[in-house]
Structure formats: structure tokens, C-alpha cells
């Protein structure tokens, strides 16, 4: 009895502690008007430099008229990936300029690739000091924007970053809108990350095989490789059979409009005709084809457990082809291969040859947003404008210091030393989002990619899929359960490891339906059609 009393006293004490901690939390989270709490929150480096900068704070003449820069701020800039070694030097130089131009300093933070998605989520959901953060379709920009993780920029842009507002074309601003608001500043550099066939060209020549341009010719190529080089694996897929086999296959063979989830299918030509690919005769046909590839030994029986990357396997001569890679990565793989095996070579045919169209990256693909918790939205935007439009900022943060990190040679970028010794390789800060086409420098090897891009430009059509922001709150539980079913029952089918394909599909569909597939598909289709009519796509 007595023991219980003491126990509950202890619990009450800890509850009280927690309550006080949490009261503090909600306070600072609400702190839009939190100017009073600002000094306490400022990081040590900010307070240090603020005293140093007090004298020069008057020099704010270069600032856009719209914003007040009398108070010095320190910005926290977050980018994905690993920081380049020379980052401190670049940061110091940028700070010198930003101090003068905007009365602001900045810290460039990098999440690294270790649990980056976890960290990204934590940064946005726990009210950290983040003023600028990278966004992309693959970082779930649409979802985060929809859920209120970023600040709308519509009203800020004309005052805080007027030049940037004009620089980015109107249709790009429109394209990144989620629920009618702009939440990210898109990159304006137009590139293609669409897929194409990649294969060992030297072997193709050697055995006089057809050039892969579509699935039948690709099959013939693989067949020829299997016959002539029995120890070489014709096709590298890797453990992501959904992404590197099924999606790419549907992309080129059935002209799927984008990576629609939940087995939904719509072709690019008729996006409004949405059907379920799962359980359809088409799916059965495709699965049987994958199975025949597996049976013929085009890829490994253990593809689902493969540890090496496809590119590595090609470069080192353990695989001959890939069903899909983008032009830039193909070019890199080819370069890596040539440095190891000068007499080998890779070939590339964009899927556009078979499908008749190519979509340049959607503006959502690379961008920077201002998280809801940022207290320096105006200055952050003004700073970002500098990063994109001021050549000094841009070149420094893309290529490092001219002379130490790179030189310009005949209009081309030339790295000093190699990637291991150079403290700031090309685009060392992963600055995809603040690329400015006017300032960009390329390596000579990139000409091959440009040639492909030129070819694709001729058949370009807009990406109509990425702008769609799905709202899955309604079927969140079903969605998670379905993901599991897909991995357990569909992946082995894709990898051609289920003997009875019909039976396998039946089991998969049964399980998927039990997980709530119908509800998901129905709701998704409704949203998709609404999106199409809203954005005027037929």
C-alpha cells in the first residue's frame, strides 16, 4: 500500500516535469511572433558573428527594397548528401559576401545519405532551425507541402526575391503549386532523367547483335549475349525489381504515364483512362515474359538479394545490359568503364525512340523550400536569390574556388587533381536545385549527354504525372499493408521466381484485396481524375 503511494508520487513528479517541458515546446512551436525568444534560440555561431558584424550592418545597400535587413540574421541551409571537404572555406567566403549584401550569415548543413529520409522528416517535424531545405519529388515534396511542412512563398517572392521571381518562368511557378500555393523555388535548368536501354556496345558489334531500340530487339540482344558469353549475365536488375524492371518496362513497352503506385495504370496518351494493371491480362503477359527471361538465365535467380549496383556490374564485366538508366548516369557509367577497360564501350537508346516522346524533368524535381518553422523567411529567400542569380555565389557553391578546385579550359570545366584529392568536386554541394543555366560549366565528357538531350528535345512533351499530389490520409493503413503484400507476393513474380505465374498472381491479388486494394485504387483514381481536370489535361 505504502509502496504504491510512493510510486504514484514518483509518477506524478515525472508527469509534472514532462508537462512543463511540453508547455515549453508548444510555446516555441507557435512562435511565429517569437521575436522575443529569438536571442535565446540563436545558435552560438550566430551570436558570435553578430557582434563582429554590428559595425558593418549599415552596408545593406544592395538589398532588394522590399525587405528590412537592419537586423542581422543567421540562416540554416540544409542540403542532402555529404558535405565536400572544402565546405568551411566556401562557407566563409559566402558569409563575407552575404554579410555585406544582406546582413546575413549562413551555415551549410548536410544530412549525409545515412538515414537521410529519417533525418529529413525529423528536421521538418520537430521545429528545428531550418531556413532553407532541398525538395524534390523523391523527397516527397508534394506530401510535405500538402501537410503544411513548408511556408507558402506567393506573397514573399515579389518583395524578398523579385529578380528570382522574374527569372523563373511563370509556368514553372505554376507547376510547383500544391493546392494553389507555391512552396518551393524550382530549378530552371532543363534536363532529362528519362530512361533508356544501356548495353555493352563492343559485345554487340563483336557478335553482330541487333541494337536495342525496343523490347523485342532488347530481348534479341540478351539472347545473343547468353549464347555467345554464357558466363556473362545479360541483364542486371538488382534487388529493386519494381523500379528497375517493372516500372521501366511499363515505361517503354506500355507508355505508362509515370510511376503510378498501387498497380494503377494509365498511358501517357490517354491519362484519364485509368485501370488496374494488377490482375489484368497485360500484367499476366508481362510477368510471363519476365519469367521466361529468368528461365533463360538473362538475370540471376537471386536478383532479389543482389548486393552490387547494376552500374558496377556493367563496369566490371559481370553483366551486359540494363533495362533503363538516365542519360547522365549512363554517361558516367560509360566513363568509369572506359577508365578501367579502354576497349569496352556502352551503347544507349532513349526509350523515346520506342515511345515517341520524352518528358523533361518536372519543375518539382529540384527545388528549395522554406520550412514552416523558419523565422527568417524573407532573408532566406533573398539569400537563395543570390545563390541562383549572383554569379559569384553560384560559381563558388557549384564548383568551389577557381584555380584551387577547378579551372575553366576552353569553356569547359576542368577539375584540379581528382575526386579523392579535390576538396570540392564539380557540384560538390549537390547544388542541383540552384543550377543557373547561364553560369553552368560542363566537363567535355558531358557533350555526349547534351547530344542525347538535343535528340530528346525534339520529341519533348510535358511531364503530367509529377504535379499530382496524392492525399492518402484516408487509406494510410491500407497503403502500408499493401506495400508489404507487394514485396512479399509480387516481387518474387517480377523476379521470375514463382513457377506457377497464374497461381502466383491469384494469391497476390487475394492478399492485396484483403489489404484494401479496392479502396485505395478507387480513391486514387478519383483524386487523379480530379487532378487531370483541374490542370486541364485530357
Amino acid at each position: 500500500m505504502l509502496k504504491n503511494v510512493n510510486k504514484s508520487a514518483g509518477v506524478a513528479l515525472s508527469m509534472a516535469l514532462m508537462a512543463s517541458v511540453f508547455a515549453g515546446c508548444s510555446g516555441s512551436n507557435n512562435g511565429e511572433a517569437g521575436a522575443s525568444s529569438e536571442p535565446a534560440k540563436a545558435s552560438p555561431s550566430a551570436s558570435q558573428s553578430s557582434s563582429a558584424a554590428a559595425s558593418s550592418s549599415a552596408a545593406a545597400s544592395a538589398v532588394p527594397a522590399g525587405i528590412d535587413t537592419s537586423k542581422k540574421v543567421h540562416l540554416q541551409f540544409y542540403m542532402l548528401g555529404n558535405a565536400p571537404k572544402d565546405l568551411p572555406k566556401v562557407e566563409a567566403e559566402i558569409n563575407k559576401m552575404a554579410q555585406e549584401d544582406l546582413n546575413a550569415t549562413v551555415t551549410f548543413n548536410f544530412t549525409t545519405w545515412t538515414d537521410w529520409d529519417q533525418k529529413y522528416k525529423l528536421l521538418l517535424s520537430t521545429g528545428q532551425d531550418v531556413d532553407l531545405i532541398f525538395t524534390a519529388d523523391w523527397t516527397q515534396y508534394q506530401q510535405y507541402a500538402k501537410k503544411g511542412a513548408f511556408q507558402p512563398l506567393d506573397d514573399l517572392l515579389p518583395t524578398a526575391a523579385p529578380a528570382l521571381n522574374d527569372f523563373v518562368p511563370k509556368d514553372m511557378w505554376n507547376a510547383v503549386k500544391i493546392n494553389g500555393k507555391i512552396y518551393t523555388v524550382p530549378a530552371t535548368y532543363q534536363e532529362y532523367v528519362t530512361n533508356g536501354f544501356v548495353w555493352r556496345e563492343d559485345l554487340r558489334k563483336k557478335y553482330n547483335l541487333p541494337t536495342p531500340v525496343d523490347i523485342p530487339t532488347f530481348e534479341a540482344y540478351m539472347d545473343g549475349i547468353k549464347k555467345n558469353e554464357p558466363t556473362l549475365q545479360p541483364l542486371a536488375i538488382g534487388s529493386d525489381v519494381r523500379g528497375s524492371l517493372n516500372d521501366t518496362y511499363l515505361d517503354v513497352f506500355r507508355k505508362k504515364v509515370g510511376a503510378l503506385p498501387y498497380g494503377m495504370f494509365a498511358s501517357y496518351d490517354k491519362p484519364a483512362e485509368m485501370t488496374s494493371y494488377w490482375g489484368s491480362p497485360e500484367q499476366l503477359e508481362d510477368l510471363k515474359r519476365f519469367k521466361s527471361w529468368a528461365d533463360k538465365g538473362y538475370f540471376s535467380k537471386n536478383e532479389l538479394n543482389e548486393k552490387a549496383t547494376n552500374q558496377e556490374k556493367l563496369v566490371n564485366g559481370t553483366a551486359a545490359a540494363m533495362l533503363g538508366d538516365n542519360p547522365t548516369r549512363f554517361n558516367q557509367t560509360n566513363g568509369n568503364m572506359k577508365s578501367l577497360h579502354p576497349d569496352w564501350e556502352l551503347g544507349y537508346t532513349p526509350f523515346a525512340v520506342a515511345t515517341g516522346y520524352a518528358t523533361p524533368v518536372h519543375p518539382i524535381h529540384n527545388g528549395f523550400a522554406i520550412p514552416a518553422s523558419s523565422k527568417n523567411a524573407e532573408r532566406a529567400l533573398a539569400f537563395y536569390e543570390k545563390m541562383v542569380l549572383d554569379k559569384r555565389y553560384n560559381l563558388l557553391t557549384q564548383y568551389g574556388f577557381e584555380g584551387t578546385n577547378y579551372t575553366v579550359d576552353g569553356g569547359y570545366y576542368k577539375m584540379v587533381g581528382d575526386a579523392n584529392t579535390n576538396g570540392f568536386p564539380r557540384e560538390g554541394m549537390q547544388g542541383w536545385a540552384w543550377r543557373n543555366p547561364e553560369f553552368m560549366l560542363f566537363e567535355p565528357s558531358y557533350d555526349g549527354v547534351k547530344a542525347i538531350f538535343d535528340q530528346l528535345d525534339k520529341v519533348q512533351k510535358p511531364d503530367i504525372y509529377t504535379g499530382f499530389a496524392e492525399d492518402y490520409t484516408e487509406y494510410q493503413a491500407e497503403r502500408s499493408a499493401l506495400e508489404q503484400v507487394e514485396k512479399q507476393y509480387l516481387f518474387p513474380l517480377l523476379a521470375g521466381q514463382v513457377k506457377d505465374v497464374e497461381g502466383g498472381v491469384k494469391t497476390f491479388m487475394d492478399k492485396a484485396k484483403k489489404a484494401g486494394l479496392d479502396k485505395i485504387q478507387e480513391s486514387y483514381k478519383k483524386q487523379w481524375l480530379a487532378y487531370l481536370s483541374e490542370s486541364g489535361i485530357q
Binding site: 571537404k85 545515412t114 525529423l122 521545429g127 533503363g324 558516367q332 575526386a419 568536386p425
Partner: protein
């Protein structure tokens, strides 16, 4: 009697040796594979897989790591500092707690043991913890963020409690109390020397925990100068698995290039090498009966 004893003892020794040798071989093989792979060229690993002896000898992995050695050397410094400081503080606090919790005249020992144990069952998850360390304790980018999360675990405290309980007879404490020694003095002068094997074990585990930690760096450190050593290994591994998992559609090309298999293995060797020496060092404290005799005498 003497003969019988000898025969069984010979058998025992024979079995013991056989089992231990077999076990040791099984344990050392994969390790040799890793070391061998770290000296093999990347192309050969991808092509031929692992082997006990490098098929195509190469230093390339180590060369990449030590070409610009500042990062790794600095990380050695960070990890060593954190390991030494964290182990020292954690060990002191945990032995005190372990000692108190095993004192039979301490009435609330069960309640407090439960208080500590309970935290292994329930947790608030990553989000509140991240907020605690970053927003309230404000440990971001400091050594505190690396030391604090691993400072003590319920398991090691309870283990310490049990070690002290069995190593220190109650009579010893009682007689010291009668001599007028205070509780802290008893702990410091009598209990600590008696519990040396326990201290060595717990200290070893705690030190290993600190040495192997990379998660704290992943969560709380933005300043590359404060990354732990293990984090470099995990970051190399994670960078390549990220590149595998991200489709072509993301269009990601890393300027720093893809870490090679050789480099992963070399980094694994560089990262684990030094800590392997810790165990043999700790072993010397696992000597039977030494301490008991010393105190009793």
C-alpha cells in the same frame, strides 16, 4: 583418487580444446575474408567474390582513405575522446548505482531497479528523443550529443548490481560499517577493488558501445569535424545503398563518386582495428580469485 581426477580432467581438456579451436576457426574465417577483401582490387571483388587470399592484390581502398587522411584521423580523435570520457563517467555512475541497488538494507532498491528497467520496455520513439537532445538539452553539434545517449543502459546497471552482489560478501560491508566507514567510502575503498572483473566487463561493453556508435552522429551532428569514426563506415555503406535504391528518375549523380567494395572493406578494417586490441587488454582483469584474496588477507 588422484588418477581418476587426472583422467577426467584430461578428457575435459581435450574436449575443451577441440570445441574452442573449432569455434575459433568459425569465428575468424569471415574476418579473414574481410581483411583479404580490403586488399583486393574492386574489380576482382565484383567479378570473383571474396576469397581468403587476395586474387588481385591492391592497396586502392586504403589509398583512397589515407590519401587525404585528416578526416579519418580526426574521427579517430573524436571517437577516442568520446569513448574514454563516456566510459569513465558512465562506469563511475553505473557502479555507484549498481552498488546501491544491491545493498539489502536499501529499502527502495526494487522500486528503483524497476524504475530503471522500465525504460527498456517503453520508449517515446525517435521524434521526442530527437527533440529532447536538440531542442531542450541543446546538444546539437557538441561532444555531449555523442556522450549523452550511450552513457548508461539499464542492462549494464543491473549486470553491475549482480556482479557486485556476488563479488562482495555482505559481511565485508557489514564489518566496514561497524568500523565506522561511510557508505561512499565503503564503495570506493572496498567494493570497487573487489568488483574489478565486473568493472572490466562493464567498462569493456560500454567502451565498445561508444566505439561502435554511429547513430548519434547521424542524428545530432552536422559539423563534419565531429563525426564519429564508425559514422564514416556507415556513411560509405549507406551512400552506396542509397544509390542502389534510388531510381534513375531521381537523376542523382554524386560528384564524389560511388564508394567501391574495396573501400568499404578497408574502412571496416580501419574502423574496427584498434578496438580489437581492447579485449586482450581487459582480459588481464579476468583472473580468478586474485582480488578476493588480496582484500581478505
Amino acid at each position: 583418487m588422484k588418477i581418476k581426477e587426472d583422467r577426467s580432467s584430461v578428457w575435459f581438456q581435450l574436449i575443451a580444446h577441440a570445441v574452442v579451436v573449432a569455434g575459433s576457426i568459425l569465428c575468424i574465417l569471415p574476418f579473414l575474408l574481410i581483411v583479404s577483401a580490403s586488399f583486393t582490387s574492386n574489380a576482382s571483388i565484383i567479378r570473383d567474390g571474396y576469397s581468403l587470399w587476395p586474387k588481385d592484390f591492391s592497396w586502392e581502398g586504403y589509398k583512397v582513405i589515407f590519401q587525404v587522411p585528416d578526416e579519418v584521423l580526426r574521427a579517430y580523435g573524436v571517437t577516442s575522446t568520446v569513448t574514454v570520457a563516456g566510459t569513465a563517467i558512465g562506469l563511475l555512475l553505473m557502479t555507484m548505482a549498481g552498488y546501491v541497488l544491491q545493498r539489502k538494507d536499501f529499502k527502495y532498491r526494487n522500486f528503483f531497479s524497476f524504475f530503471i528497467y522500465f525504460t527498456t520496455l517503453f520508449g517515446g520513439g525517435l521524434v521526442p528523443y530527437y527533440m529532447l537532445v536538440n531542442n531542450y538539452l541543446k546538444f546539437t553539434d557538441s561532444y555531449y550529443a555523442l556522450i549523452w545517449p550511450s552513457l548508461m543502459t539499464p542492462f549494464l546497471i543491473i549486470l553491475m548490481r549482480s556482479f557486485i552482489g556476488s563479488a562482495v560478501p555482505d559481511e565485508v560491508v557489514e564489518s566496514a560499517k561497524i568500523d565506522g566507514a561511510g557508505d561512499f567510502l565503503i564503495y570506493w575503498r572496498i567494493v570497487m577493488p573487489l568488483a574489478v572483473p565486473g568493472l572490466a566487463t562493464i567498462g569493456l561493453f560500454l567502451a565498445l558501445h561508444y566505439w561502435n556508435d554511429w547513430f548519434s552522429s547521424a542524428l545530432f551532428i552536422n559539423d563534419t569535424a565531429k563525426y564519429q569514426l564508425q559514422f564514416y563506415l556507415y556513411n560509405i555503406i549507406n551512400t552506396s545503398s542509397f544509390l542502389t535504391s534510388i531510381g534513375a528518375g531521381a537523376g542523382i549523380i554524386l560528384s564524389e563518386g560511388i564508394p567501391s567494395e574495396t573501400m568499404k572493406m578497408s574502412m571496416a578494417v580501419v574502423v574496427t582495428g584498434p578496438i580489437l586490441l581492447l579485449y586482450p587488454f581487459v582480459q588481464r582483469y579476468f583472473v580468478k580469485g586474485l582480488t578476493i584474496g588480496a582484500v581478505k588477507g
